[in-house]
């Protein structure tokens, strides 16, 4: 399979749709290909959030460690999904563990690098802010639905 440049990959990711070629080049400059094997962590709760990932293939679980209970799975993310937005906002710390559930290929982005470019180019910053806000909105809606427990427990609960 011919190697595609990061710039090509950035052009294909739905997250970055609508950006100009120059903007895509800027972003690609902070990106790299990575593979995580099943069970490997992309991030750990409390670590510095200097990166975010966009899943090209595979599945990632967001989890919280709980004493004596094993990890509590909050949600799973699949192809095309963005993992991590704490790189954008202080204190730049991961709130959850992110663990690959199967072999997962991602484009990994250096958060500090990209933050620097956004500080220098506010238009780029605005475009990225918009896209991440949309991602967060989507996640929030889905999470709210999840909280509602619409299916209900066994009769009586």
């Amino acid at each position: 399979m011919p190697m595609r440049s990061i710039e090509d990959l950035v052009g294909e990711l739905p997250t970055f749709a609508g950006l100009s070629p120059a903007q895509r080049e800027l972003i690609a400059g902070c990106g790299s290909n990575r593979v995580f094997e099943a069970g490997e962590h992309l991030a750990r709760e409390g670590d510095a959030a200097d990166a975010f990932f966009v899943i090209r293939h595979g599945r990632v679980a967001l989890e919280l460690a709980a004493p004596a209970k094993g990890p509590l799975m909050i949600s799973t993310l699949g192809e095309g999904a963005v993992v991590g937005w704490s790189w954008l906002f202080p204190p730049h710390r991961w709130s959850f563990d992110a663990r690959a559930l199967e072999q997962t290929r991602v484009v990994a982005f250096d958060g500090a690098c990209l933050r620097g470019k956004c500080d220098a180019d506010h238009e780029l910053g605005y475009e990225l802010m918009q896209r991440f806000a949309a991602v967060m909105l989507d996640r929030l809606q889905a999470t709210r639905l999840q909280l509602l427990d619409v299916y209900g427990g066994p009769a009586g609960e």
């Binding site: 599945r59 949600s75 799973t76 699949g78 889905a142 509602l148 299916y151 209900g152 009769a155």
Partner: protein, 292 residues
């Protein structure tokens, strides 16, 4: 056979009883006295219309537990099958609990089938997208089995299942089999995981964005709690589906199932006749009005 009135149940025997989850059982019923003969005399009611054993996917029967009461239960079995009539029942009240407790050999009363059905015929050459939330998979199962049986007629078949947790998913053995079945694309997700769960976690709408179907050439069938159906409809429409191609299932109080008790109305619709299956385009103006 005497000509029975539309409110008179016909005795059926429980042939088998299988527990699906903590509060849900699947019962298989067959008519006492055998045969699939109509309860009604020629000319009084259309014999083909009031025969519980012959049903279209999406229809329901009124099931009576002796001395306790009667509730509408979707038929969840294979519409093309010859075997007993299957119903998956969740124990949410005294009547459904009594039905769930019925051991093989018990006789229950059955009236039906009633209601509208999933428009599988309109799926020819198109993608059929089935989205089931919780026990919603039960009334959708006949549509799925019907689609699998005629798979060549469809352009694609997608099944998306959401549930509260892994232990509350229905038909788990069949879901496992369908995972490897090349005839359909299966997505399963739960709201809350249990230890050892390797599947998806999140609401069922999260599966819609990446589901493999062409929204410009698809029909969708959705059943689940009303909140889930609303958000699923929104997600499908956001992907570009036509509201006339999206079908939901209306749940309302029913005592008669023959448009005479008045209780199942949603706007001008009688859920026992124009429903439970309705196209979203048809029901939309009423579906969104609170407490209609």
């Amino acid at each position: 056979m005497s000509a029975a009135g539309p409110m008179t149940p016909r005795p059926f025997r429980v042939v088998s009883r299988r527990q699906e989850t903590e509060d849900t059982w699947t019962l298989a019923l067959e008519p006492v006295g055998g045969g699939a003969a109509s309860t009604f005399g020629p000319g009084q009611f259309n014999p083909g219309q009031f025969n519980p054993g012959q049903f279209n996917p999406g229809q329901f029967n009124m099931i009576y537990a002796f001395g306790v009461g009667e509730v509408p239960i979707s038929i969840s079995g294979d519409p093309g099958g010859e075997g007993p009539l299957e119903h998956t029942v969740r124990a949410v009240g005294p009547v459904s609990a009594a039905i769930c407790r019925a051991e093989p050999g018990t006789q229950l009363g059955v009236r039906g089938p009633f209601g509208s059905s999933w428009p599988l015929a309109s799926a020819t050459g198109r993608h059929a997208v089935i989205v089931a939330g919780g026990i919603g998979l039960a009334p959708l199962r006949p549509a799925l089995l019907g689609a699998l049986a005629e798979r060549e007629r469809l352009a694609g078949l997608v099944l998306l299942c959401g549930g509260r947790s892994p232990s509350q998913l229905l038909y788990r053995e069949q879901l496992e089999a369908w995972r490897d079945d090349p005839r359909l694309e299966l997505g399963v997700t739960v709201d809350s995981a249990e230890p050892g769960w390797l599947g998806n976690v999140g609401v069922v709408t999260t599966l819609i964005g990446a589901a493999p179907f062409d929204p410009a050439n698809a029909v969708a069938f959705i059943v689940g709690p009303e909140v889930m159906m609303r958000f699923t409809v929104d997600a499908l429409l956001d992907r570009g589906m036509d509201p006339a191609d999206v079908h939901v299932s209306i749940e309302r109080n029913m005592k008669c199932a023959v448009t005479q008790c008045g209780r199942c109305q949603l706007g001008p619709t009688f859920a026992c006749r124009e429903g439970a299956v309705m196209s979203y385009a048809a029901i939309e103006p009423f579906f969104r009005v609170r407490e209609l």
